[in-house]
Symmetry: C2
Amino acid sequence: MASSTEPSTAQRTGRRSGDSGTREAILVAAREHFAKSGYAGASLRTIAGAAGVDPALIRHFFGSKDDLFAATLEIPPEVTDRLGQALESASDGIGEALVRAYLGMWEDPASAESVRAMVRSAIASDKAADRLRGLLGEQLHASAPLLLDRPDGRVRAALIGSHLIGIAVARYLVRVDPIAALDLDTVVTLCTPAIQRYLTAPLPLEPSSE
Amino acid sequence: MASSTEPSTAQRTGRRSGDSGTREAILVAAREHFAKSGYAGASLRTIAGAAGVDPALIRHFFGSKDDLFAATLEIPPEVTDRLGQALESASDGIGEALVRAYLGMWEDPASAESVRAMVRSAIASDKAADRLRGLLGEQLHASAPLLLDRPDGRVRAALIGSHLIGIAVARYLVRVDPIAALDLDTVVTLCTPAIQRYLTAPLPLEPSSE
């Protein structure tokens, strides 16, 4: 984290405690501001002020407001790798592995803020919804060999995405009790059967209804 | 709907096509503005401008910004009554009745905008989350005799709330395909088994873990 000493010097020169600290401080300020004001209402000047840097430095690191917004939604590759590995588990363990990797993404400090920002933004504005739409539908389908092999795989992926996003909204964003208060293992145990059925049990419809 | 003729007269005198038209025009403008700018960023002046009325008229009809915000989230009693009736269905039909009444609330023009605004606001700001938190957890539990009778009823209500809110987010807010494109009956058929299991099938945990 960048130190907050000598803000006026930092504002003038853009120098803080090294590039990665500055970059991170801008991202923290940007996530907070985008979440509060929405994409349309957010300004680079306000974000720069909150991060204690010159607006020019934001352009230097990130480019446009659009690029900065995209950067606030980035999930580190090691986190998405864990999701990918879960989707390649043996078919009777894939439900639990998926729920655990997915909720892990919401609990891991390396990704929690990005995921939160992505969902908040996607629900607040159509502009940001594309990314989440792809993750919950197409990308989930494409990453799971089990789903790719099935004619109803896309419906299954969307049902799984619907349940997973709902668990996250209830537990991490709206904080519905007791699902917000239960420990992670208990939530995984409770939700795994429904996810596993969407993965492998017969659906109540013919595949043609996709 | 209020007519948009003579906006300058309307602005000066606050008269439009009758009180209920004016009230509705303010609500439409307020929902749009709260969704775009968030609660903190929203201003009565901007809402009044968009509705073509004097800000004083908003205070006359609704009181404070807080009261106006609450009014944008109101769901008509006939819609909530349908949900209540669904929760009192016979136990083997309650899953389908609940999913149908819940998704109906998102599709009925009388409530669609309020529900959308409530979820958007609840996810964007903690201030608005209380209402949705109550609906998805405590109120769902208290309205379903089937759940009130069980020691694990609150966990079941939260799991059901999690799945239902996720279906709505995927179908109506983020528009994940194919769940956004499927007709209502198909979505009800696909999601009913998981909801029914959360209502009546044994949970993978002892009730004491609530």
